[in-house]
Amino acid sequence: MVPLSYYLVLSGFLFACGVTGFLIKRNIITIFMSIELMLNGVNLSFVAFAAHWHSLAGQVFVFFVMVVAAAEAAVGLAIIIAVYRTRETLNVDQVNLLKL
């Protein structure tokens, strides 16, 4: 059986990838995908713990996360399309009209 720590390391790696991508990428789609990556990194640790402790709570939580992520994807992509239509760019540095 694969030890728990492997899953956690992988989960941490995925989360870190997501954070890094969120921080350094400019394309709004990529940022969006990075967020998904972070969510899934966390999901992985949830299911790993659930398997380890033989508890279903973790798996139930993952479902909740996936539902929220799906809703987020629906709303988020809609916003991205709206932004692209008005601003004709997906570079977040150029979508800063509210900044002082």
């Binding site: 954070v19 969120f22 921080l23 350094i24 977040v92 800063n96 002082l100």
Partner: protein, 668 residues
């Protein structure tokens, strides 16, 4: 007499006048202002006269309680202190009362003419009345604290009136100088009061003196009474313009001439003499303090007289003459002849008031010119002024039977008969009498004799110039041009004549020591005067003869130098080059004070207090605190860039730090 004298009316009347004129005068006509100013000062005089009429020697001293003021602790208990608004009348304050209100009223009348064209006419009368109020408070006070109020009040009035033409720089700074120099004296006065409170638990004249009375004179060494006496003298030096604090008085001539007459000759400057005389109980028990008083008085008398010789500004001569005459009064007090000092104070008020008013009339006549070298030959132009000035000059020079002779001779005699060191005072006093006679006749000759030096052709222009400076210069600036010197209006001449009359006969009350006997209830038989009068009267007549001779010598010298051989003074001045220059520049005392006190003070204030403490410590504390806050904020605000990803980065870094911490805690 059981009915009240209502003494309180005397100071309150001028105060009412000052309030009415000060508050409403700006909108009123000149006539209304004059009527109010004259009415209230005249009413004070009238009331003072009626008080003098109604009161008999048996009623004095008379105290009038008005209201309570400061009460601390139960009355009579130890450690308690009380100072009330109580007025006190005895022979001494009665004389001062009559002099202040009488001479003051005459000068009020004179001012109507002299100041008529001044734009701030109402202000002048408000100040004059205010001065009267404070001076009368000073004179009538029954305790040192109330006296101190009057004392400071006349200082204030003096400041206001010296700087009356405050748009002129020299007048404004002369006012400041008078005020500051007086503060130095007041400092001594205040400490003396603190000592009195500390040791006698009261400031009430009667209570303090009752406690001082049994104390034996401090002949062996300096003690408490000597300290109090000397500190009181410091105060008197400030107010009465004695060495080393006399410097303000000559500068005070920047004020309008009636002010010089009222405040700086006749009344206010005598406050110091009055205060020392009032405290005679203390001084009599402190021989060392008395010596200080006598020495200061004597030195001031001759010192100021020598300066007076060289001055060419008519008012400056009179100013130094005032300082010198005040020196005489202190000399008298210093040898224990307080009544002689007060006698001279009274006669001096008459003739010096007259001299100043006469000088004002002269200045009026020649269109604001004060330099005596520009005058001359005025006796035909302004005969009335000339006549009254002559009387005043004879009076101050000590020629019998005019007033100054009696009082000055009294002082010299008292000085002479007061012991071995008294001979020295007498000698110096005699020289001063000679100098006085000389510079006064010099003034008279330069002003009224010879030819008129104000060039007629130039006259219109100069008069016009003087007129354009009206309100800033000592010009009265009335519309007519000064083609020729002209006599002053009646409203100015009448006070002159009344004062001339007083200066003529005022001294006669001193014949047969009547004045001294009148004051005896206040001063007692006196320290020096205890010696039998009859036994030494022959000696007194000899001294009298010497004084008269000396006065005549002064007259002759002035006559020779300024009438028969007018080229001589310049020659003598050239012969005594260095000394003459020193005297002409008033012995460089002002410069010395400036170097010793003013400059170091300004330097110290600039370098240490301003640039050091204020800028470096106080300002920099505040500024650096603000700078620090700004710098820190500048650094910190970089975090708040508005860039979403940098926020996310901070969040990530923060969570990483928290996790790292938790892991570290877990591992440990």
């Amino acid at each position: 007499m059981t009915s009240s004298l209502n003494l309180w009316l005397i100071p309150v009347l001028p105060l009412a006048g000052a309030a009415i004129n000060g508050l409403l005068g700006k909108k009123s006509s000149r006539t209304a202002v004059s009527v109010i100013g004259l009415f209230f000062s005249g009413a004070a005089f009238a009331w003072a006269l009626s008080v003098a009429w109604r009161v008999s020697a048996a009623d004095l001293p008379y105290a009038e309680y008005i209201a309570h003021w400061i009460r601390y602790g139960a009355i009579g208990a130890s450690g308690s202190f009380a100072a009330d608004f109580t007025l006190y009348l005895d022979q001494l304050s009665l004389i001062m009362l009559l002099v202040v209100t009488g001479v003051g009223f005459l000068i009020h009348i004179y001012s109507v003419g002299y100041m008529w064209d001044d734009p701030s006419y109402y202000r002048f009368f408000a100040y004059l009345n205010l001065f009267m109020f404070f001076m009368l408070t000073l004179v009538l006070a029954s305790n040192y604290l109330l006296m101190f109020i009057g004392w400071e009040g006349v200082g204030l009035a003096s400041y206001l009136l010296i700087g009356f033409w405050f748009t002129k720089d020299s007048a404004a700074s002369a006012g400041k100088k008078a005020f500051i120099v007086n503060r130095i004296g007041d400092f001594g006065f205040l400490i003396a009061l603190f000592l009195i409170i500390e040791h006698f638990g009261s400031l009430d004249f009667t209570k303090v003196f009752a406690q001082v009375q049994p104390i034996a004179p401090e002949t062996s060494g300096a003690g408490l009474l000597t300290a109090i006496g000397i500190l009181l003298m410091v105060g008197a030096c400030g107010k009465s313009a004695q060495i080393p604090l006399y410097v303000w008085l000559p500068d005070a001539m920047e004020g309008p001439t009636p002010v010089s007459a009222l405040i700086h000759a006749a009344t206010m400057v005598t406050a110091g003499v009055y205060m020392v005389s009032r405290s005679h109980v203390i001084f009599e028990r402190a021989p060392m303090a008395l010596t200080v008083v006598a020495v200061i008085g004597t030195l001031t008398a001759i010192f100021a007289a020598t300066i007076g010789i060289t001055q060419t500004d008519i008012k400056k001569v009179l100013a130094y003459s005032t300082v010198s005459q005040l020196g005489y009064m202190f000399m008298a007090c210093g040898v224990g002849a307080f009544s002689a000092g007060i006698f001279h104070l009274m006669t001096h008020a008459f003739f010096k008031g007259l001299l100043f008013l006469g000088a004002g009339s002269v200045i009026h006549a020649v269109g604001g010119e004060q330099d005596m070298r520009q005058m001359g030959g005025l006796r035909t132009y302004i005969p009335w002024t000339f006549g009254t000035m002559c009387i005043a000059t004879l009076a101050i020079a000590g020629i019998p039977p005019f007033a100054g002779f009696w009082s000055k001779d009294e002082i010299l005699w008292k000085a002479f008969s007061s012991g071995p060191e008294g001979k020295v005072y007498w000698m110096i006093g005699l020289i001063t009498a000679f100098l006085t006679s000389f510079y006064m006749f010099r003034l008279l000759f330069m002003t009224f004799f010879g030819d008129y030096h104000g060039v007629q052709v130039d006259e219109h222009g100069r008069a016009h110039l003087a007129h354009s400076h009206a309100g800033t210069d000592d010009a009265h600036g009335h519309g007519e041009s000064h083609g020729e010197p002209h006599e002053s209006p009646m409203v100015m001449l009448v006070p002159l004549m009344i004062l001339a009359l007083l200066a003529t006969v005022g001294g006669l009350v001193g014949i047969g020591n009547r004045f001294e006997h009148f004051l005896e209830p206040v001063f007692g038989p006196g320290v020096a005067g205890a010696a039998g009068d009859a036994a030494s009267s022959a000696q007194e007549y000899v001294l009298m003869g010497i004084s008269i001779t000396v006065a005549l010598l002064g007259f002759l010298l002035a006559y020779v130098l300024y009438i028969s051989k007018p080229y001589l003074p310049q020659k003598i001045a050239d012969g005594l080059n260095g000394f003459y220059t020193a005297v002409l520049n008033k012995y460089y005392v002002d410069e010395l004070y400036s170097k010793l006190f003013v400059k170091p003070l300004i330097e110290g204030s600039t370098r240490i207090l301003w640039q050091g403490v204020d800028r470096k410590v106080i300002d920099d504390t505040v500024n650096n605190a603000a700078d620090g806050a700004r710098d820190v904020s500048n650094e910190v605000r970089q975090m708040q860039s508005g860039n979403l990803r940098s926020y996310a980065g901070w969040i990530a870094a923060g969570s990483a730090a928290v996790i790292a911490y938790m892991i570290w805690m877990g591992v440990r």
